[in-house]
């Protein structure tokens, strides 16, 4: 290597190839910068700032859960096998009956595992769709959103009838709209319709759960109720947005919902705190049980909103985020109404009793 300056001439044939390469590199990097040139989807993702995931856990740590579950399954399988063969030796009828049962358990378990895996994949797919939409919303590209929107529409259509919403979208969109505009139109026509239905579902489940908890006499029953209602709600909501989750697949989803509630919910909590403080004196006048019911109702409503956030293909904008306030009001009214009728009923009964005594 020398330190002397070197001059290349453009007409030099050997040099031309190299020069072209640099040029190409420059233009391609510019193309990805501009956003509307097309290839932006993949490249910008890489440039995002992220914490590196801790892939470097030692292998023996990573193997703990798989090996434990494999061990338990083998042990259980072995035990079951021994159990069935033991029974067969004693009485062939009893043995084959139990064997049949075991077979059914294996088949149905396998099937639900498979469904759960599919649901998980759908959920992951939805997450990538969300990211793609978010990317498109940032740029000013043209002609890329149509396909994505069509695929979302297909997914939703399998579970919900949305002809009316679809026609309103078709009417509103024009040939000249770019991706950003199309996504906004889709979000404000089709998805807003779904949002309304989803909010109805959330309100219904939240107020029902609130009423049940307010009336149930057992604390243990409360917990079961919350688990049951919330899982039912998540199932319905996810189906509404076209990525239905099943019992096993829901596990992942529930985990995410709770995580998000803890993280994102905190800020909402601050915003809602004022209203909640105001409401406190009111709730205090009702019995402690009713207050508990309202608390559970709000919790389930919050879970419902988080599920909506996770399942909606296009992320909510700043203005159209669903708000907790409206749901809380209907939860409150439901419980207060229940308590009032119950107490009125009691008063009637006691009046009756007094009259009878007379």
């Amino acid at each position: 290597m020398s330190d002397k300056p070197v001059k290349f001439y453009s007409k030099d044939k050997a040099h031309q190839a190299a020069e072209k390469l640099v040029n190409e590199a420059v233009t391609s990097s510019r193309a990805s910068d501009d956003g509307f040139q097309g290839q932006s989807l993949a490249t910008t993702k890489a440039s995002e700032i992220q914490l590196l995931s801790d892939r470097k856990k030692p292998w023996y740590k990573r193997l703990f859960w798989p090996s434990l579950s494999a061990f338990i399954i083998t042990a259980a399988g072995y035990e079951a096998y021994q159990f069935v063969t033991g029974l067969l030796q004693e009485n062939w009828l009893l043995g084959s009956g139990v064997g049949l049962l075991a077979g059914i358990v294996v088949i149905s378990g396998g099937y639900s595992l498979f469904k759960g895996w599919k649901a998980r994949r759908r959920f992951k797919h939805r997450q990538t769709q969300q990211q793609q939409f978010e990317q498109l919303l940032k740029g000013k590209s043209y002609g890329q959103a149509n396909q994505l929107i069509a695929s979302v529409t297909d997914e939703v259509e399998q579970y919900v009838r949305i002809e009316a919403l679809k026609t309103s979208y078709e009417q509103k969109k024009q040939q000249v709209h770019n991706d950003q505009e199309l996504i906004h139109i889709y979000s404000s026509s089709v998805l807003q319709g779904l949002d309304k239905m989803a909010l109805d579902v959330v309100t219904k489940h939240a107020s029902e759960a609130a009423a049940m908890v307010a009336l149930s006499p057992l604390a243990a029953a409360d917990m079961a109720l919350v688990a049951w209602r919330s899982s039912k709600m998540i199932e319905q909501l996810s189906q509404l947005y076209g990525c239905p989750q099943t019992a096993l697949g829901r596990f992942e989803m529930t985990k995410r919902v709770f995580k998000n509630m803890m993280l994102a919910g905190a800020s909402e909590l601050v915003a809602d705190a004022g209203v909640e403080l105001l409401g406190k004196s009111l709730t205090a006048t009702i019995s402690a049980k009713a207050a508990q019911g309202i608390g559970v109702g709000v919790l389930i409503a919050r879970m419902g909103l988080q599920t909506m956030h996770l399942c909606r293909p296009i992320p909510f904008g700043q203005d159209d985020k669903p708000k907790l306030g409206q749901i809380r009001k209907s939860v409150y009214h439901k419980v207060v109404g229940l308590v009032k009728t119950a107490s009125a009923g009691k008063a009637d009964k006691s009046d009756d009793a007094i009259e009878k005594k007379k």
Partner: protein, 475 residues
């Protein structure tokens, strides 16, 4: 219960007044940038919005909150009305024609009734009305702004320097020498005769510079705005003046000149023009306009050469200067401007295939970047967009030489036949001189499609323009 009703009415009035539901939108642009078409479409869209809800991005409309809208008489009775019905009639005639362009200020007033959205205000009044005044004035008049702090001597010097360039001399040599040969000092007894000779000379001066401007599209100080667009002042003596170009006269002390000399007459007219034409105009438009939209015909710029582009860029920067008043800017001390939103729109986007709208917008954005930056610095919200007030085409995909190509389809202006047109690749940033020469681009204007007065005019992104300019008033 009478007093209750009274209180309700009063509180509703107070809300209206404190919220300021009157908005004054000023529309400007250089001539042939499509001002009249824009205003026609703007009114048309708002009139049809409550019936058809076609304005997707105008929130009040997409939420179905508009109850009705109508044209009404504006309060500034000295400003001519905008001839909306005439424009629509021309557009929907058997042989459709573009609306006649206006040569001065005109104004239209629209009233829109809508359902209030805000949850607290709703309790005071369920419905409210927004009054929209649309004022249209030639962009050329904005270019007079620098004249305001110039004396006649300063202006003459500026003109002398401006006319020195070779390109301009071709046009102005003859008149410049005539002007230089005038005797500025001698006294004139007959005022009428003097006035006539000044008028003759200034007409010649204007004609020479207007010829030059027509060829080069160059707007300089030497041609004040009213020389180009006299409006209602056509033939008024205040427009009859021209600069002093002789170096020897310019170097003199002008105090010694007699009252009746040619120079004094010219100076008087220049000052009159400043005080009685420019100042009232800026006073009226700057201190009372809330929203401003500037229209730029980017397509025509792209078709013309590098020089024309640079000239227009300068002009637009000058034009936008009026909106970038600083905190201690003399303009602010004079007029107290009140514009809080400014949109710079590239018109005639219907001549460009939709996948290139982003490039068109980006090109225009970079052209006005410096001016936009200055305006934005003053806390004015600035937005740029590629729009079409009356769309004459639709987008069509076709195949050419084995490649998929997005084109625009419309009626050819001459023959009336349906044609597909691909204008070439629109650059997304300003080009160097060499690239500009290599640029192959052709936007052929289409004829008007068949329109009916019963349906809203076809448009591109007018809904976004309306949302930006008026959206916050429909709370």
């Amino acid at each position: 219960m009478d007093w209750l009703n009274k209180i309700a009415k009063k509180s509703s009035d107070i809300v209206d007044r404190s919220l300021d539901r009157n908005v004054r939108v000023a529309v400007t642009g250089l001539s042939h940038s499509g001002k009249t078409a824009f205003i026609t479409s703007f009114i048309n869209q708002l009139l049809h919005a409550p019936l058809t809800s076609q304005l997707t991005f105008f929130q009040a409309d997409s939420e179905n909150r508009l109850r009705g809208s109508k044209l009404s008489q504006h309060n500034e009775l000295h400003i001519p009305g905008f001839d909306y019905s005439g424009a629509i009639k021309r557009l929907t005639n058997e042989t459709a024609k573009w609306p006649l362009s206006t040569n001065g200020v005109s104004q239209a007033q629209l009233k829109c009734r809508f359902n209030v959205k805000h949850s607290w205000l709703k309790k005071i009044q369920a419905q409210s009305t927004v009054t929209i005044d649309i004022v249209d004035y030639p962009g050329e008049w904005l270019l007079d702004l620098p004249l305001l702090h110039m004396s006649f001597k300063d202006w003459s010097k500026a003109c002398r320097d401006y006319l020195k360039s070779e390109r301009r001399q071709e046009y102005t040599q003859k008149i410049a020498s005539t002007i230089s040969n005038q005797n500025y000092q001698s006294q004139h007894q007959d005022e009428v005769e003097l006035s006539e000779s000044v008028a003759r000379l200034s007409t010649e001066y204007k004609a020479a510079l207007l010829d030059y401007r027509a060829d080069y599209n160059d707007y300089g100080l030497a041609l004040p705005g009213r020389f180009i667009m006299p409006g209602e002042l056509k033939g008024a003596p205040t427009l009859d003046f021209f600069p002093v170009l002789n170096d020897d006269v310019l170097s003199l002390d002008w105090e010694q000149f007699e009252e009746n000399s040619l120079l004094r007459t010219l100076e008087k007219r220049f000052d009159y023009y400043k005080d009685n034409v420019i100042k009232p105009f800026f006073n009226e438009y700057f201190s009372r306009v809330d929203r401003q939209i500037v229209l730029i015909d980017t397509c025509t710029v792209l078709e013309s050469g590098y020089e024309a582009y640079q000239d227009l860029k300068l002009t637009i920067e000058k034009l936008l200067e009026g909106f970038s008043y600083g905190r201690a800017h003399w303009l602010k001390r004079l007029f107290a401007p009140s514009i809080d939103k400014l949109m710079i729109a590239s018109t005639k986007a219907d001549l460009v295939p939709p996948d290139q709208h982003a490039a068109l917008e980006s090109f225009m954005q970079k052209m006005v970047a410096q001016a936009k930056n200055n305006v934005g610095y003053e806390g004015v919200e600035v937005e740029t967009m590629a729009i079409s007030a009356i769309a004459t085409s639709e987008a069509v995909a076709t195949e050419h030489a084995g490649k998929k190509l997005l084109c625009v389809k419309g009626k050819e202006e001459r023959t009336g036949e349906s044609v597909l047109h691909y204008p070439g690749i629109v650059p997304d940033k300003p080009l160097s001189r060499q690239h500009w020469d290599e640029l192959e681009i052709d936007f052929s204007a289409f004829a008007l499609p068949n329109l009916t007065p019963d349906e809203p005019l076809p448009q591109i992104r007018m809904d976004k323009v309306i949302q930006f300019l008026l959206g916050d008033k429909f709370l």
